[in-house]
């Protein structure tokens, strides 16, 4: 018997049926668990609404405005993350130049607040960092960083392990694993890659920066190439 056949047979023999009564009991537990979570979320929303009424009555319009902004989603502005009541949040910027031969630095900053049961949150709950390079509604290129495997894949095929000297190349970019920096701590993760542009990228390009957590929740922001800072001696 081959190893593969032994493994298949071994798994098959080790498997166990679950009777329908047990499955129904467990389904009941799942439905109850989800309803409890919805009730808790509604209770928080009702409490917040009551608090708003109290604040409006006693503390005036300025404090009311501050409380209303809690839990809302603000439109993204350069350098500022989305604000959402739960789930991952992402910000970032892209600097450098788009011409072949130049350098492009892409930075993604992600925050994973604590979401309680069942996951404690924190940066360990992140799964992927992704960057889509889009021009005229066409995907020009794509970067995907697997946080657990520490692997960066560009163009969907070429992969490097972060921190090594290996090089990955796609249609528009060349990246060395040594030029990827990932910084983590608490609820925060920062991913920065310095890539060499191998084929000129169109000027109308947009960079869609996103993070995905272990539960499939995600956040995304879109950035254009940042204007170079003005400077010099005046």
């Amino acid at each position: 018997m081959s190893l593969d056949q032994r493994v298949r047979d071994g798994f098959a023999r080790s498997s166990f049926p679950m009777d329908s009564d047990e499955i129904e009991d467990l389904l009941g537990g799942v439905l109850a668990g989800a309803r409890r979570r919805r009730r808790n979320r509604r209770a928080v929303q009702i409490t917040l609404a009551a608090l708003l009424v109290v604040v409006a009555a006693f503390l005036g319009p300025k404090a009311l405005e501050a409380l209303e902004s809690v839990g809302e989603t603000r439109p993204a502005v350069p350098g500022e993350p989305h604000v959402e009541s739960r789930g991952p949040r992402v910000a970032g910027q892209v600097t450098g130049a788009l011409v072949a031969g130049s350098r492009l630095t892409i930075r993604v900053d992600a925050t994973m607040p604590s979401v309680g049961f069942p996951a404690p949150g924190g940066w360990q709950a992140f799964h992927l960092v992704e960057v889509a390079i889009v021009s005229g509604n066409r995907d020009l290129d794509h970067l995907r960083f697997d946080i657990e495997d520490k692997k960066l894949t560009i163009g969907g095929q070429s992969t490097v392990i972060v921190g090594t000297g290996a090089v990955a190349t796609s249609t528009h970019l060349r990246v060395s694993g040594a030029e990827v920096v990932v910084t983590t701590g608490g609820a925060n993760l920062s991913f920065e890659v310095r890539a060499q542009v191998v084929e000129t990228i169109p000027q109308d390009v947009q960079f869609e920066l996103s993070v995905v957590d272990d539960f499939g929740a995600s956040d995304e922001v879109t950035r254009r190439l940042a204007e170079p800072e003005s400077g010099g001696i005046t």
Binding site: R13, S14, S20, K151, F215
Partner: protein, 166 residues
């Protein structure tokens, strides 16, 4: 009207649960070697799914999503357990029901968590490599790599010859 929508969603979810729950528990059991904990983790994963059912139910394969969540929870639990056992010098317990190939079970128990998950999905659930990659959230190349390394390790532990069948 709202209650009818919620009831319809719960009924749809319940149908999905009855179809998928047992096999996710089995896969998670092969990773954790503990049916009771596998059942708890799988329930947690399905609670996560139900709270996002409106969105996830529109995906091509919601069964891949819930498996990914359950496997990641199981792998995280396993890593914490392994750290605790290293500190306390415990031996990993095996709580599998029914008649088992004990040598195979012990050999699988020595694989790292990501390789165990790949082996369970490929051999027990009989999924093609592309689906294994999708559920584990990695590339097909990485999934093949996991299976290849798992085969070599199992062959060494079991004194067998490893042949790549992916």
């Amino acid at each position: 009207m709202w209650h009818r929508l919620v009831d319809d969603a719960e009924q749809e979810f319940s149908r999905f649960f009855r179809e998928q729950f047992a096999s996710v528990v089995q896969t998670t059991t092969f990773i954790l070697h503990d049916q009771d904990r596998a059942r708890d983790i799988t329930q947690d994963a399905f609670i996560e799914l139900l709270t996002r059912w409106k969105r996830i139910s529109t995906y091509d394969r919601p069964e891949a999503w819930v498996r990914r969540v359950a496997i990641r929870m199981a792998v995280r639990t396993l890593r914490r357990d392994q750290l605790r056992r290293r500190l306390e010098r415990d031996v990993e317990p095996i709580r599998m029901p029914g008649p088992v190939d004990i040598d195979l079970v012990r050999a699988v128990a020595q694989l790292p968590p990501s390789l165990r998950a790949a082996v369970a999905l490929f051999y027990f659930e009989d999924r093609p490599v592309v689906e294994v990659a999708d559920i584990l959230g990695c590339s097909e190349v990485t999934a093949r790599g996991h299976l290849h390394r798992a085969r070599i390790r199992l062959a060494t532990l079991l004194g067998e010859e490893a042949v790549d069948v992916t």
